[in-house]
Symmetry: C2
Subunit: 303 residues, 2 copies
Amino acid sequence: MESFSKRLTDAVLRRQNPVVVGLDPRFTSLPVGLTEGVDERDRSAVAAAYLEFCRGVIDVVAPLVPAVKPQAAFFEQLGPAGMTVLEATVRYAREKGLLVILDGKRNDIGSTAIAYAEGYLGPPDSSSWGADALTVSPYLGDDSLTPFMDVAVARGAGIFVLVKTSNPGGATFQDLVAQQQPVYRYVADWVQRQAAATAGTDRYGCVGAVVGATWPEQLAELRQAMPQAWLLVPGFGSQGGGPEDVRGALDQGGLGALINSSRAIIFAHSRPEYKDQYGDAQWQRAVEEAALEMIEQMRAVIP
Amino acid sequence: MESFSKRLTDAVLRRQNPVVVGLDPRFTSLPVGLTEGVDERDRSAVAAAYLEFCRGVIDVVAPLVPAVKPQAAFFEQLGPAGMTVLEATVRYAREKGLLVILDGKRNDIGSTAIAYAEGYLGPPDSSSWGADALTVSPYLGDDSLTPFMDVAVARGAGIFVLVKTSNPGGATFQDLVAQQQPVYRYVADWVQRQAAATAGTDRYGCVGAVVGATWPEQLAELRQAMPQAWLLVPGFGSQGGGPEDVRGALDQGGLGALINSSRAIIFAHSRPEYKDQYGDAQWQRAVEEAALEMIEQMRAVIP
């Protein structure tokens, strides 16, 4: 089986951009056509609207970008009905040729970590959820991360470990300094070691890192500290990060980082610049415009 | 609505012990009667076996202990079928009068954290999963924890934040020392502040901490550092912690800490001391014996 890193490299080169579209369905933000007549308290009905919405986004972005990133929380909020729709969304995206990075920020130890990894990672025939990669939280330490990595590698999948997150509160514990190094740097060092160990003959490995676009200085520092890790960069767009902030994350060939945008693309029909032109009725046109706009911005900053 | 801390206090006093039974179903560890003829690759059939098993454990322990702790990973491993069974397990346990602490180690930021919290916490009529409390990972910092706390308090539920976990690798990042204090101590200070803020007129608040029984020295230190936080203590039994190790976590009235045991109770039919007497056929008798044994051990160490 081809490695996750190889598949990701191919996908980015094929689409000639590193954009990841975040699938964060929220009931009150959906185009009105999808929620009209739906009772917000009816979880199955809301889940059905989420699926229609996510499929609509996937149809538009599949020919344009290498990957999508469903946010598990919004599906889990709906209970089992939401989880059924999450599974359908992952499978639909894969069928359309997209890589799927499931944003679940899971973590546990030993055999429990293996259960998560086996549940979420790998081709749909070997795993329930069938994602190409999963985000993982590092607080439980080395023996919580290794099982995720082992399952991922065995199944041609990947993991992205939270290193320096995009939110202001990311500093609370991540920026504590132990022996001249912030905590996030220790996590980064772990990621780099495992990225190197899983790279084989590729430039990048199958263990990557989440580093927010909202900390451009640390993004540059962490790019250097993890030369063989794919960086998954949230915080672009709605959270304030711009094209110049992420330039340093990409290598000369435009590889090595994935730049995520969620709301600014999927809810583009509500953005002032698209609202009048497309509005709710032509929401997929707005998604397409917003995706193309971001792709152009990214191509302009590829070194 | 009564606060989580109040309900937990009542439950511990009613049962006169602080034992939490961990519901960690694993296919190959189930009593043979529940797995005979079940194809391990058939996720729906495995999920059905998990539900039968969990209900069987709940029937036995509901009159004995205050709470159960389902481990989300083992249900998620089975995909949507597992999640449906997780929901049914939580509801069954509540119907039988048990408090339910869902071990999901979730974490995210802002509105995404709210989505998790709203999905998992609160009475079954307000939340899909309907747990009384959820375990939460702290790596993303202050603004990732506050939303969980806010939703919990509003719904009469609680959270347990990972502070010092029971696994050996827990030391990797948690024990890094910044300005004379380990990282876990900073997390503990956050927990204590919020425990105090949510305690009202009770002794303990609705924000608790996970502290492993495998680190008795730190358990004593953290008990002192978080005088108003309920401690959820894993690592007892199979992971090596014993009654003497957890003595210091309990206050004079036997409150303030919950001691979790999973495999040693739920898979007691495989333990050498019960195997011959009960075996697979009378597995529920073995569960009862093992639970009663632990309850007795705990009563012996209550200060």
